[in-house]
Amino acid sequence: MKNIFRGELVRITAEEPEARAKVEVRWQGDSELHRLAGAEPAMMESEKKLKEWFEKQNENGFKPQRYPFSVRTLEDDKHIGFFGLWVDLIHGEAWVGIGIGEREYWGKGYGTDMMKLCLQYAFTELNVHRVSLGVHEYNPRALRSYEKAGFQLEGRTRRDILREGVRTDSLWMGILRDEWLQMQTGDQQ
């Protein structure tokens, strides 16, 4: 069987509370990173608090609701980012949260590789019917990468985000299992 934990540039590991808390403190200091990814106000938490939070999440295990991963490079095993899937198993829908905290790995294909692993996990391991995500309209780099991964734009909630006094839209995207399977056979040809 296929190794679903290994891509071309990265591999995914268990979420590591200690390592994750350490980098998270640094990543929280990058307000642009937070504002590109999140909708809540940027905030800073102690390494201790973060570690405890990640530990608590792990204690809960792989519950049906949440599947978090840390992402490391194949080249030098550097912890560069994360992704997580929040799953509604009743209706077969998974929501993605994904990010590369280490800026020097932006725009080099790592995100694409991560999303490939993420969708593969969602569709072939969790067996969901669709995968969803939201993205700020002021983050065109993410939007393009999601389109490349096969996500379709399904609409926008008008002016729901207020940052620096400017109102912007959230864009909502989705990919269906059939669409993803189609892309996989396309890749092989």
Binding site: H91, E93, E154, G155, R159, D160, L162
Partner: protein
Amino acid sequence: MFNIQTQLFDGQDVRLGPIDHEKDPEVESKWTHDSDFMRMYDTDPARPMSAAMVKKQYEKLEKQIEENKEMYYFTIRARSDDRLLGKAMIERIEWSNGNGLIRIGIGSPEDHRKGYGSQGMQMLLRFAFAELNLFRVSAEVPEYNEPAVALLKKFGFVEEVRRRQALERDGRRWDLLVFGLLKDDWQNQAEG
């Protein structure tokens, strides 16, 4: 116009009120045994609940509201006899962005099509925009809930997102629709 004389919580036939922990559990328990109501109101699996379970749920709900401060919950009651008709709430409020998600349900089939939901919606929107000062509200509704879609459109909500095949019920997939209403559009509408 600065109008604090017009009551926020009084409509023509209905009013918004708090939970009655003594009387309401019995009534809501009945609603949960009506699968039509449950499947229109929520996408979670419909589950019949006893009055005791509903009572526990109310307590949990009020605790959550106090702790998280991101939700306002009202019961919809008849003005004539204070009977519980339904519920109305604003949840998942993002204070920094000024947005929230609204939800309204009228429990018994015999109370449908009497304008109660519409009156509840009118008060809930005024509360959201004129009291909480939100900038916009959203509503999520399965495409098969046609009465809800009609109610939202009547109040000026715009269909903004169609999450394709996001739900499965009765052996087929359904879209989930997200509607949005901005404060300006609500205000223009209220003024004429």
